[in-house]
Amino acid sequence: MKKYTLLYIAFILSQLGFAQENVYPAKKQDKAIFISNGTVHVGNGTVLSNASVEINDGKIINVGTGINPSANAIIIDAKGKHVYPGLILSNSNLGLVEVNSVRATADAVEIGEINANIKSLVAYNTDSKVINTLKTNGVVLANVVPQGGVISGSSSVVQLDAWNWEDAAYAKDNGIHLNMPSLFNRPNPYAAFMGINAPAGDPVKRGLEELEKIKTFFKEAKVYLSQTSHDQVNLKFEAVKGLFEKKQKLYVHCDVVREILAAIDFKKEFDFDVVLVGASESFQVAELLKNNNIPVILNQMHALPTLADDGVDLPYALPGLLQKAGVLFAINDEDGQHRGKNLPFNAGTAAAYGLTKEQALSSITLNAAKILGIDDKAGSLEKGKDGNVVISEGDILDMRTSKIGLVMIQGRIVSLDDKHKQLYERYMYKYGLK
């Protein structure tokens, strides 16, 4: 039984790499690890003081106070530290887009309207420089989502310490993404500028017609899938099979109430598992969402209110409003500046404006896992789940105190080295600083 301090582990890991290319994915767990005497935030709202977590063979085998390590377990002393489930980024283009402004590095938006058969996983680049910077802040899983068109394709959940996308796959193709047609009276503000005529008629009506076309697709898919053999195979229909079998969820990206109502209508008509993404106006119909069992992924906490009339902190307060109404929701971080690593601070903001800290934590761990359909193996520090664990010196939701000392994915202690740290080292060296 060896006892290691966090510092020691961090030291070993930092010796591994000189460049981003040398940040290696960790090897499969070969020894039990016993994290002792920490403040354990289970992820389901429970906090255990002076508690321990033991992980073996990639799984959590024990959690609680007064438990003892197995023989030969490596003991990591977490006294005075906080132990969390690994954080989950629930909607992201991670690994699909490297540099936003460079077309050649962007693989998130495919051509076409109904792209049900498009799969994000096959383009997920495990060597993206961004990925390691997320682990640095405790993010261990991400839902990688294709964009564009009406049905963008399927998303997969990946774990962030992998050699290639097959290794990375954590839940394969388990979500289909639908961009709800606009049911909002919004004239294209750029129409005149672009020299295109705004389409005539009521945009809401137009949106509803568009919606009918999508429904037709699913109706036809249903009939197609009920047949055992086909003269002509339709890849698009095949791709949504899981929706009807409830092996896939339908993620509906939308914002305004009419679009949310249309999403509810979708659920009623096809009995899909529907998840709203974005849904900045969801607070208006929270009751309906709860009653219809429709969860929400809030894409970006750090946003401006929609209208000058809104409360100045409405986006910050939105999770609190959904919590109060009993809606299941996850907090996400989707922006163009690759700040997915700020996920915990998004949740922290929500905690400042209406959630408890543990509720805020759930919104980036267990709730996200439930919404993504991976709560059987991720999202909380509970026996039987994967060993996805993060240890922080202080409150992980606050940048003032968040100092991540250890991140474990499926029982593997992963390297926390990243390009940022390497450049930091390089220039500290240049200036002779410590």
Partner: protein, 1013 residues
């Protein structure tokens, strides 16, 4: 009819030089309009008076006018005669201008850097000073008719295109030859902020338009003495010639009105300002311009907000403007502003009078309304010797009405223009309503009916039954149709002519028999006296400052406040004081310490709270009407200060995040951008009061991808296209600035170079010889340490190159902003003396930020640079304290140092650390009281104070939200009331907001926000 009128007109206005095809037909007809109520002008009303008109002029007017024998007499009993109205903002008779030459739908696709105007014109296509409306004016009787029917007799018309629009011509609305329709050929000169059909890249912003106007004033003055250097420049010649005319500026917004007026002040010009009707929102500022206004009456329609999904996105501001827009003229009257009305901005002139009446219902006096339609416009452009009132010698432009013209029930019967009669509603001339005996004489003898005429379109036959007839009367001809028997389908049809109380005509009965008929008046219907009641004034919402949600009805005042028992982060040698007190008084920090007392102070128990200096954002783009002037690579002449926008809700939102000062920067579209403006977030103040008074002037520079237009989809044609070119843009601009400074010195007779003077040009006015160049003026200021650079930059090579240019040419980079690779050249920056203002952790969104690291701020600090964390983002500015806190995590910066990065450090960078940035006695009371540790994610500002005034108070904010909800609801109900009353409604339109940014990276904003760089 048109042809007839044309003949008539030509005979009235025979032109000596024009040959006649036929026989001469000169007429000197005299008209006498007697027994009228003559409204000479708003102050002089004559009862039972006579107006004599010969040809196109008024001969005399009065109650004792003897009517000459040669007069054609028109009895105007019961009629009113007013001067015809005047509209100063028309484009009547002026063809719509076409874009010249190449142009793109998308300015970025085909950037047109130079003017496409062919000929000896100036460099900028938007300066169309040479356009002479008189030369392109063509009578357009269709358009004239619509204006005549609204009561107008003459208009000032010009070509509404460009920033300088040339001269306007004052014309009558008579259908006569242009030679006579033009009353004053060059009556005005016109300006605007909009470049119109010009596709030239510059100017591309409000600031650029302002700068172009200012530069053109200077150029025109210089050109007077230096024509040989410039060659023939028709634009500047015309510009100079136009200066003696009344100068009219289309501002179309309250803040634009102030912007225009300030240009006028600089050049000794008082513009007449065309507005858009929102002046009531800032009436004091409008008064301060001293300008006469041309005011439209295009009041918004109520929106159909029945569906709450639609109502949700209609902003309070738009609903309030709907309610208050008709109060605008009354507000102007109350403030004693001189103004005139225009039909401009209305979809059609035929709604003009109805809208004007709305203004009267909302408090405008009828006297002022009439003045604003007659004498005021006439005086504003100096044609009051010819039009505007009914006086001897003036042009015979008058309307005849059957009652008070502002009364809803009155009609304009005729509009006489230059002595020509134009019928408007001639059927209203005669009061035909009354009882008549109708006698039909056919083969079967004469049959009499009793005819009851109700109006020009309704009459009944009264017998055993009352039979409704088909009746029409057009002022002369009358038609009557009615069934012989009550239920008969065959009508008796009568057609005749009215001559006072006697009507004669011809008809056909139900069996096809022809007959003649007469009708004789027995008794006129009693004339209803003015029964129109002014609608009782409905309850109106208050004007708030600013005119947005969370605006003040009563501005908060400076207070004396004693904060007790807080954790005070002084940013001074005392460091952090636990259980400390802060006293603020007269807008300043009066005392800091423990156990403070002040009997006059309001005491705030700050136990458990934290007090810090207000947050200062070194890089912001809020509160401005435009941010980027990308029309050229060097635009140091443009100034953010020229276009501040105090109505930006982001001022209030950022106060809620503890921000008290923001440095509003030009964007990054070009290497040498525009002059910046430091503001204090004084929510509710006007544009001038937002400025951080006495602060040093700064300017924005930019390097790298943005200035070489790397992300333009169709490539770039504007120099520079590489970082090599960017360096040379800097070299060239400052080399030119140095030569310019030398030339100015040389041109100053008897003057010596004086580097200490703010303007080195002393002695005689050198600008008579050397063209004053606003662009180079700003660069000369930099060379003389009178203006300071904040330079957008990312990669080490470009930072290094910029430093070398500065060191070679003798100027300094005060600050590098963004500076994401600053950590790589921190030593060089330190040697240069530059400060750094950066983001905490943005990276990888474009090629030049691939090496950005969240440790940047820490490394630069450790090397010894003054480092700030900025926002460059309206959302993130609300969390700058937390962005700074990331440096604790990345690199281990101390908490106090981290806080300084958003308070004291930017204050130093901006040279205002003697005023703000720390909690020190004597500094401005710009403070934040936080609910929690100020670097924590859980910290919320409870009070944000600027100059000792609490501009944001979290408790008061709760109250404001309640009031806002109530006010929204009241207005929605009021709009629905309009719908129930059957008034025309507009569909509910979401209220979009435009958010300006530097064009550098993505931002996260709501779906009603349209982003623009």
């Amino acid at each position: 009819m048109v042809i007839l009128l044309g003949c008539f007109s030509i005979s009235l206005f025979a032109q000596p030089t024009f040959p006649v095809n036929g026989v001469a037909d000169q007429r000197e007809t005299l008209y006498a309009f007697k027994n009228a109520t003559i409204v000479q002008d708003a102050q002089h009303i004559l009862n039972n008076a006579t107006l004599l008109v010969r040809k196109d002029k008024i001969v005399s007017v009065g109650t004792n006018v003897s009517i000459p024998a040669d007069a054609i007499v028109i009895d105007c009993s019961g009629k009113f005669i007013y001067p015809s109205f005047i509209d100063l903002y028309a484009d009547y008779g002026i063809a719509s201008p076409q874009a010249q030459g190449m142009g793109g739908r998308n300015a970025y696709l085909n950037v047109q850097l130079n003017s496409n105007a062919k000929g000896a014109f100036g460099w900028n296509q938007a300066i169309k000073a040479d356009v002479n409306a008189g030369a392109i004016f063509v009578v357009d009787d269709n358009k004239a008719k619509a204006l005549r029917e609204a009561g107008f007799g003459s208009v000032l018309t010009h070509q509404k295109d460009g920033i300088a629009r040339g001269t306007g011509t004052f014309v009558s609305l008579a259908n006569v030859k242009e030679n006579f329709a033009i009353i004053k050929e060059k009556a005005s000169a016109h300006y605007s902020f909009s470049k119109g059909t010009s596709q030239q890249s510059y100017p591309a912003s409000m600031m650029g338009s302002i700068s172009l106007l200012r530069q053109t004033y200077y150029d025109a003055k210089w050109y007077k003495n230096n024509a040989a250097k410039e060659g023939v420049n028709l634009s500047l010649i015309a510009w100079n010639n136009n200066q003696s005319l009344p100068q009219v500026f289309e501002a179309n917004d309250k803040w634009n009105a102030l912007r225009a007026d300030r240009i006028g002040d600089e050049f000794g010009v008082q513009y007449i300002i065309k507005t858009n009707g929102n002046e009531y929102q800032r009436i004091q500022e409008i008064v301060s311009t001293g300008a006469s206004l041309i005011v439209p009456v295009n009041y918004p329609m109520a929106m159909d907000v029945e569906d709450p999904n639609d109502a949700r996105f209609v902003s309070l501001t738009n609903m309030k403007h709907w309610e208050l827009a008709p109060t605008n003229p009354a507000a102007l009257e109350k403030a004693a502003v001189t103004f005139s009305f225009t039909t401009a901005d209305l979809r059609s002139p035929n709604t003009f009078l109805a809208n004007l009446r709305k203004a009267i219902d909302n408090g405008l006096s009828e006297t002022k309304a009439l003045e604003a339609l007659t004498t005021s416009p006439a005086k504003m452009i100096g044609v009051n010797d010819m039009v505007g009132s009914l006086e001897q010698g003036k042009i015979a432009n008058f309307i005849i009405t059957n009652g008070n013209v502002f009364n809803e029930k009155s009609s304009i019967i005729e509009n006489w223009i230059q002595g020509n009669k134009y019928s408007v509603k001639s059927e209203k001339w005669y009061e035909i309503a009354g009882a008549y005996t109708l006698s039909v004489s056919g083969e079967k003898g004469t049959k009499s009916y009793s005819l009851q005429v109700k109006s020009s379109s309704a009459a009944n036959i009264i017998g055993n039954d009352t039979i409704a007839t088909k009746f029409s009367f057009d002022g002369k001809l009358v038609k009557i149709g009615f069934p012989a028997e009550k239920k008969s389908s065959n009508n008796i049809k009568l057609s005749g002519m009215v001559n006072g109380g006697v009507w004669n005509g011809y008809g056909e009965d139900n069996e096809g028999n022809k007959f003649t008929w007469t009708a004789n008046l027995n008794s006129l219907a009693a004339i209803s006296t003015d029964t129109t009641k002014r609608k009782p004034a409905s309850k109106l919402g208050a004007v708030t400052y600013p005119f947005t949600p969370y605006g003040w009805t009563e501005s908060p005042k400076q207070e004396t406040i004693l904060f007790k028992n807080a954790t005070v982060w002084t940013n001074e040698a005392e460091g952090k004081i636990e259980n400390g007190d802060v006293l603020i008084k007269n807008g300043k920090i009066a005392a800091v310490g423990k156990g403070l007392q002040d009997a006059t102070a309001k005491v705030v128990d700050a136990t458990g709270k934290h007090i810090t200096a207000g947050i200062i954002d070194e890089h912001s783009h809020i509160a401005a009407a435009s941010i980027n002037e990308g029309g050229q690579s060097v635009t140091s002449e443009v100034r953010i200060a020229d276009n501040l926008n105090p109505d930006d809700i982001n001022i209030y939102r950022q106060l809620s995040g503890g921000v008290t000062s923001s440095h509003i920067l030009h964007g990054s579209a070009n290497t040498i951008g525009g002059q910046t403006q430091l503001i204090k977030l004084r929510w509710g103040a006007n544009d001038d009061k937002l400025k951080f008074e006495g602060s040093d002037p700064f300017i924005k520079f930019a390097l790298g991808e943005n200035v070489k237009r790397a992300s333009m989809p169709m490539g770039n044609v504007r120099f520079p296209d590489t970082r090599m070119g960017v360096e040379q843009v800097l070299m060239d601009a400052f080399t030119r600035a140095k030569d310019y400074q030398k030339a100015m010195w040389a041109a100053s007779v008897g003057a010596k170079p004086n580097p200490k003077s703010k303007t080195p040009m002393v002695g005689a006015d050198p600008t008579l010889v050397v063209r004053r160049d606003l662009e180079l003026d700003a660069l000369v200021e930099i060379l003389n340490n009178k203006r300071f650079i904040t330079c957008h930059s990312y990669v080490q090579s470009e930072i290094n190159a910029a430093l070398k240019v500065g060191e070679t040419l003798g100027f300094k980079f005060n600050t590098f902003t963004h500076i994401l690779e600053g950590y790589k050249v921190a030593d060089k920056m330190k040697a240069h003396g530059a400060a750094a203002s950066t983001f905490s952790d943005w990276w990888n969104y474009k090629m030049e930020v691939l090496d950005a690291i969240p440790y940047n701020a820490t490394i630069m600090s450790k090397v010894g640079l003054n480092v700030a964390i900025n926002s460059d983002d309206a959302e993130m500015a609300r969390r700058l304290n937390q962005e700074a806190a990331k440096s604790i995590k990345f690199g281990g910066m101390s908490e106090e140092d981290a806080l300084k990065m958003v308070t004291l450090n930017p204050a130093k960078m901006l040279h205002v650390d003697s005023r703000v940035g720390s909690i020190k006695v004597g500094k401005d009371a710009d403070l934040v009281m936080w609910s929690d540790h100020p670097l924590s994610i859980y910290a919320k500002s409870e009070k944000t104070i600027v100059d000792g005034i609490v501009y944001f108070d979290r408790e008061k904010d709760v109250q404001l939200r309640k009031e806002l909800t109530a006010e929204r609801n009241r207005l929605i109900q009021k709009m629905l009331g309009e719908k129930r009353s059957g008034n025309p409604m507009a569909p509910a339109t979401p209220s979009y907001s435009t958010l300006l940014n530097c064009g550098d990276h993505d931002h996260s904003h709501g779906f009603l926000t349209i982003e623009k760089d």
